[in-house]
């Protein structure tokens, strides 16, 4: 190949190359930052946040839990838990312990652990105006009829959930039960107060 070197000096180049210290094109930095941002968003969405059990296409541990096949009682309990967390747990706490000045506890409450469901079912359907005693403490708050907007199935599920969680051990409440109570109450029931509630049969 060097037989042509005499004619064209670029054939056997001598002298070591050098590097020009020119400024970097700005658009490369911009692209880098954009890609970092997009990548972070992507990882946040699809990375499962380092959870050992989350495999794609599941995107979070919560979603994986959601998609666990549940049968019968487990399914109802899951439904009840879901309704509780979105409707009741805001005030009564995720662990049913309530908060002073906000809502009385449901865990171990004598109003929950009743033989029947009738009295309990009234509370979310009509709303409640204090004062009343719960687990030996006085409560003087008012509760809106949070269960009025729920379907019969949902309300039954959440009541069953409350009656069987956090140490509570009471029977389930079926959809028919809730339907019956709702029918008996009529169109726009008035909020019940503590005294009326105590007087009702369980």
């Amino acid at each position: 190949m060097s037989d042509e070197s005499k004619s064209c000096s670029c054939q056997s180049p001598e002298g070591e190359p050098s590097a020009v210290r020119s400024t970097m094109p700005m658009w490369i930095i911009v692209i880098t930052l954009v890609l970092v941002f997009l990548g972070a968003v992507y990882f946040d969405r699809y990375g499962g946040w380092f959870d050992r059990q989350v495999y794609g296409p599941y995107t979070s541990a919560y979603q994986l839990e959601e998609y666990q096949p549940k049968s019968g009682a487990a399914a109802a309990a899951a439904q009840g838990k879901r309704v509780y967390e979105s409707v009741c747990g805001v005030c009564h706490g995720p662990d049913g312990l309530g908060k002073p000045g906000q809502a009385p506890p449901l865990a171990g409450s004598e109003w929950v652990n009743t033989k029947g469901f009738d009295r309990l079912a009234h509370i979310p359907l009509t709303g409640l105006n204090g004062p009343m005693q719960v687990e030996g403490k006085d409560w003087s708050l008012s509760m809106a009829p949070m269960g009025a907007a729920l379907s019969d199935a949902d309300l039954a599920a959440v009541l069953t959930y409350i009656r069987n969680s956090w140490g509570n051990k009471a029977g389930e409440v079926t959809t028919d039960d809730v339907k019956a109570v709702r029918a008996a109450l009529g169109a726009r029931p008035q909020p019940i107060n503590g005294g009326q509630l105590k007087a009702m049969p369980e």
């Binding site: 054939q11 992507y42 495999y55």
Partner: protein, 480 residues
């Protein structure tokens, strides 16, 4: 050879080159052999798709052994030794210090080739480890590891003792590469072969190793070499010291996290991180592309058609394309189409041969005559090799990639029987097999040139030895 009476403190370029003679001939000579062996094995493997009965009764040549052997022969037999040789030359040449104690790297080179031989024999005899790109069992891999350590040590000592202290961008890439291989190779062998970890994490470590070797290490050495030869031949300085630095940092920082394929049976965070890293590696690839374009634009136009300049340019261009293919495979939508299809092997072959091997050819065609002190015995064959290898790579990679996409489309359609998808790719294989044949011929020409040059040198050595033996006799006779 005329005895040089220059000042010992300032070795000339030819002295520096001469010091590398024996190690480089050992490295490149063996590399040329493995290149041809690998091509033959790859061709056999490819033919088996057209005629499954071809050599089927020989257990040593069953597809599942021949294909990994061909890949490893190319990577460990040719790419890594050629890369090490070019690295040694670049360090010595840029630092202007000859390689001292060159017998050790020469021995190490032979140890490496022995390790490759043992490893390839083991694969063909059924003793492979079962991990992609890590098939050599302990006997071979230990030899490879220590041979590399010796060569890296000598290169490091040469680099540390350099006379020209200023660092050129190629230095960053090459020094990083020296450091890269021992860590990944030892980790992979310890955790997968010696004391295997349990369960699917073996696959994770295997993917980490394959990515860091086939993508990062080859990129480091190939780009390091290309950044030296490109400006030299273009007659312009490398366009962008800081851009090159940026490309280097992003390559090592993010390139090392790629490799876990999407949809792998591992927790979702692993493939997601790899995809994220692949996106960031895109910036490094873009930077290299910008540097290449800017350095070439306005550079010298004249070049021997088929000379080292052509090899280097084709090589770096192939790097850009193969890296883009690699990054595309990490994108979710494209991944759904091409994962587990022939698109993957197409990308790997483009990277190994189209990028790295072609860059090494260009570098070796440039440096070996300077090192050995003689010109190539068959310069026209060397130029012919460029055309054969280039045509071969294009014929191999493009149809394979297209075939992979076709296969992916069919596989994603549950209504299409698997056999139809497999049959559809056979059409594209015909081109790929032809490409492999062309590459084999090209590689033979390369080996021919290397051995021709070695023979010329040895012949000259013998002639010199004979002359030295003869000469004193005449003087003594005269005196007597």
């Amino acid at each position: 050879m005329i005895v040089n009476e220059t000042n010992k403190a300032n070795p000339t370029a030819s002295e520096v080159d001469a010091s590398l003679r024996v190690p480089l001939l050992a490295l490149f000579g063996g590399a040329a052999v493995w290149l041809v062996v690998g091509s033959v094995l790859a061709l056999i493997a490819s033919i088996k798709f057209h005629a499954p009965d071809f050599l089927a009764d020989c257990p040593l040549l069953t597809y599942g052994r021949v294909q990994p052997a061909a890949d490893d022969a190319l990577l460990y037999g040719f790419c890594i030794p050629a890369g090490l040789g070019v690295m040694l030359w670049l360090f010595a040449h840029l630092g202007q210090v000859p390689l001292r104690g060159a017998i050790v790297p020469a021995v190490a080179a032979n140890l490496w080739h022995l390790g490759v031989f043992i490893g390839l024999a083991a694969i063909l005899l059924g003793d492979s480890t079962g991990f992609a790109w890590l098939e050599f069992p302990r006997a071979g891999s230990v030899l490879l590891f220590f041979a590399y350590l010796l060569l890296a040590l000598w290169a490091t000592m040469n680099f540390a003792g350099r006379r020209e202290r200023a660092l050129y961008p190629s230095h960053w890439f090459l020094v990083a590469a020296l450091f890269w291989f021992p860590w990944i190779y030892s980790t992979a062998n310890l955790l997968l072969v010696a004391w295997p970890v349990r369960g699917v994490v073996q696959a994770v470590i295997g993917w980490w190793f394959a990515d860091n070797l086939v993508f990062v290490w080859l990129a480091l050495v190939g780009i390091g070499a290309a950044f030296y030869f490109l400006p030299k031949y273009a007659g312009r300085p490398l366009q962008g010291y800081y851009l090159a630095l940026y490309a280097f940092w992003l390559l090592i920082l993010f390139g090392s996290w790629c490799g876990i394929p999407l949809g792998a049976p591992v927790p979702a965070w692993l493939p997601s991180i790899s995809s994220f890293a692949a996106m960031m590696t895109l910036v490094s690839v873009l930077s290299v592309g910008v540097i290449m374009c800017k350095t070439l634009c306005g550079g010298k136009k004249c070049a021997t058609l088929g000379g080292p300049y052509c090899f280097i340019r084709f090589g770096l261009g192939s790097f850009l394309i193969s890296a883009l293919m690699f990054i595309a495979m990490a994108c979710p939508k494209f991944n759904l189409l091409t994962q587990s299809t022939w698109f993957g092997p197409a990308q790997t072959q483009l990277q190994l041969y189209g990028f790295f091997a072609m860059t090494m050819f260009g570098a070796i065609y440039h440096l070996l005559p300077r090192v050995v002190g003689f010109e190539w015995p068959f310069p026209r064959l060397a130029r012919l090799q460029f055309w054969l290898s280039m045509a071969g790579v294009v014929l191999l990679v493009v149809p394979l990639a297209v075939g992979g996409v076709v296969q992916g489309i069919k596989l994603n359609n549950p209504g299409v029987a698997f056999l139809d998808a497999a049959q559809a790719t056979l059409f594209w294989f015909r081109f790929s097999t032809t490409g492999l044949l062309l590459m084999l011929v090209g590689n033979l020409l390369f080996a021919l040139n290397i051995f021709g040059l070695t023979t010329v040198w040895k012949f000259a050595l013998v002639k010199k030895a004979i002359a030295m033996v003869k000469a004193p006799l005449e003087i003594a006779e005269v005196k007597a």
